[in-house]
């Protein structure tokens, strides 16, 4: 992509603001944009949630299939997380197979959920070594205005907490009779920080993402860190990582309250 002059000017502006401790939308450095969480946004899906984070919109949907377990965990269900950055959501998204950005997003969201041990995969075993439930978590980004990681993790956690398991009888999945809840216990939350110059700020909006030097995301449950991911061409000092880690636990507690279960 040819670099746009407009983005460069905006990036310079955001850097100079950051130096003065200001964000373009006047948020505090540790302040999220307004968040709206709508569980069961797709009522016919087995689980779903829409998250609006500022103008960013991410829809997570859950399908349940029956498949074979992995040979090394014959009595455990499977989680697969996919992500489509559909071109409807941004002028920079292209149709086609997932690119490195959508793959990173899906994998970081997936790790947050998987490593939190939120889902009790053994309860998703139907017949050991033969049939298990496969939880297909699909992220559909509808409007991209920055910080997809946190919006997607929040949507995913909410969708999974609202997911019902279909009845399974004689090799047939009966979706109409989906009454049992997905066995889930933790609410992993991801918090992402941008480093712009020497300033660390939470929940980068689109312009901040374009201007950032480095990015770090932590997925936490109440007391446990379960995933981390650094991105961007810049670097963090040891102290900056420490700050972001503590803030991730603090903001995580706030965001966790938004995971509504219907």
């Amino acid at each position: 992509m040819a670099e746009s002059i407009a983005w460069e000017i905006k990036s310079d502006y955001i850097h100079s603001l950051a130096q003065k401790g200001i964000r373009q939308d006047n948020r505090a450095m540790d302040e999220y944009r307004p968040i709206e969480v709508i569980p069961n946004y797709i009522p016919r899906a087995l689980g779903s949630a829409l998250v609006r984070l500022g103008a960013t919109q991410v829809l997570a949907g859950v399908s349940m299939l029956v498949g074979q377990p992995y040979p090394d965990s014959p009595n455990a269900g499977v989680l697969m997380t996919g992500c489509e950055l559909v071109p409807l959501a941004s002028p920079t998204f292209e149709p086609g197979p997932p690119d490195e950005n959508s793959i990173e997003l899906a994998r970081v969201v997936d790790r947050g959920i998987r490593e939190s041990k939120a889902i009790d995969f053994e309860k998703l075993c139907i017949t050991e070594g033969e049939e298990v439930w496969m939880v297909m978590l699909d992220l559909h980004v509808l409007d991209y205005d920055g910080n997809l990681f946190d919006a997607a993790e929040l949507a995913s956690t909410t969708a999974l907490w609202n997911t019902r398991i279909p009845k399974y009888e004689d090799g047939q999945i009966i979706r109409e009779e989906a009454k049992e809840k997905l066995p889930i216990s933790e609410k992993p939350i991801e918090c992402t920080f941008a480093k712009i110059g020497n300033t660390i700020m939470v929940d980068p909006a689109l312009e901040e993402e374009k201007a950032l030097d480095a990015r770090v995301t932590f997925a936490t449950t109440d007391k446990i860190l379960c995933a981390g991911q650094k991105g961007g061409s810049g670097s963090f000092t040891r102290e900056e990582i420490d700050y972001a880690l503590d803030m991730a636990f603090k903001k995580g507690k706030e965001l966790r309250k938004l995971v509504k279960v219907i």
Binding site: A55, L65, G82, L142
Partner: protein
């Protein structure tokens, strides 16, 4: 079409969901629902949830498909994996590609492409929840999104299907009617001239039944058009607030 079942799809003129033969399902249309797109529209139509976005006119890429006489219009109909009961694998399948092609051709009739040579106008539609009739809901949404983007058009495009269930010609098939019914005729028209810009048919109809279905779907389009206008009016009012 034509799957076997014991379900009685129509009884005493009433359909499974209580509609009469000439009734549309409930439809809500809202324009201007996305931040990044140049124009957008959200449509709920029965159980369908459809989001349309328009980008452009913009630089035509890849360049070799550009035309010095008119804008190139692209249309991408896509289903979210969770939009249907059996998870849809991501990426375009043959059905989506066919729907995209004929929907694009329908819109080419109304968009004043010749005003924007060498550019590209891109229409994207995402089916978030699929009932029956997604191609009509998608095209209806796309047309509003184009208007919302300020793209000059001869007219809106409005789409609606009619079909045959339990031996009768009815408007706007629902999911079970689509699965177990006898024929489906999705149609799109220009509301002002009643020109037909999209028409498909599958199933089994006598010529007379087909004509009746065609007339009925055109009637349906006229009703849908009112909702499109309303959505754009609301968007305009909201815009000047």
């Amino acid at each position: 079409m034509g799957m076997k079942s014991d379900i009685e799809l129509i009884k005493d003129g009433k359909r499974l969901d209580g509609r009469g033969v000439n009734d549309l399902r409930p439809i809500t249309i809202k324009a201007g629902v996305l931040e990044r797109a140049d124009g957008s529209c959200y449509v709920e139509w029965g159980g369908n949830k459809v989001l349309a976005a328009v980008y452009g006119p913009q630089e035509c890429l890849p360049k070799h498909i550009a035309s010095p006489h008119r804008a190139v219009l692209t249309y991408r109909y896509n289903m979210a994996p969770f939009s249907v009961e059996d998870r849809k694998r991501p990426g375009p399948d043959r059905r989506s590609i066919e729907i995209s092609k004929i929907s694009k051709e329908a819109l080419e009739r109304v968009v004043l492409l010749e005003k924007f040579p060498n550019t590209m106008i891109k229409v994207f539609v995402e089916i978030l929840q699929a009932d029956a009739g997604t191609r009509c809901a998608a095209l209806t949404a796309a047309s509003v999104a184009l208007a919302d983007a300020g793209i000059p058009m001869r007219d809106l495009v409005t789409a609606c299907a009619a079909g045959k269930i339990g031996g009768e010609i009815v408007l706007d098939l629902g999911k079970k009617e689509d699965n177990f019914g006898e024929a489906d005729v999705p149609v799109a028209i220009l509301p002002h001239t009643k020109e037909i810009v999209l028409m498909q048919m599958d199933g089994q109809l006598t010529p007379e039944e087909y004509r009746k279905a065609l007339d009925l779907s055109i009637d349906g389009c006229t009703k849908v058009y009112e909702l499109q206008k309303k959505a754009l009016r609301e968007r305009y009012v909201e815009g000047v607030d």
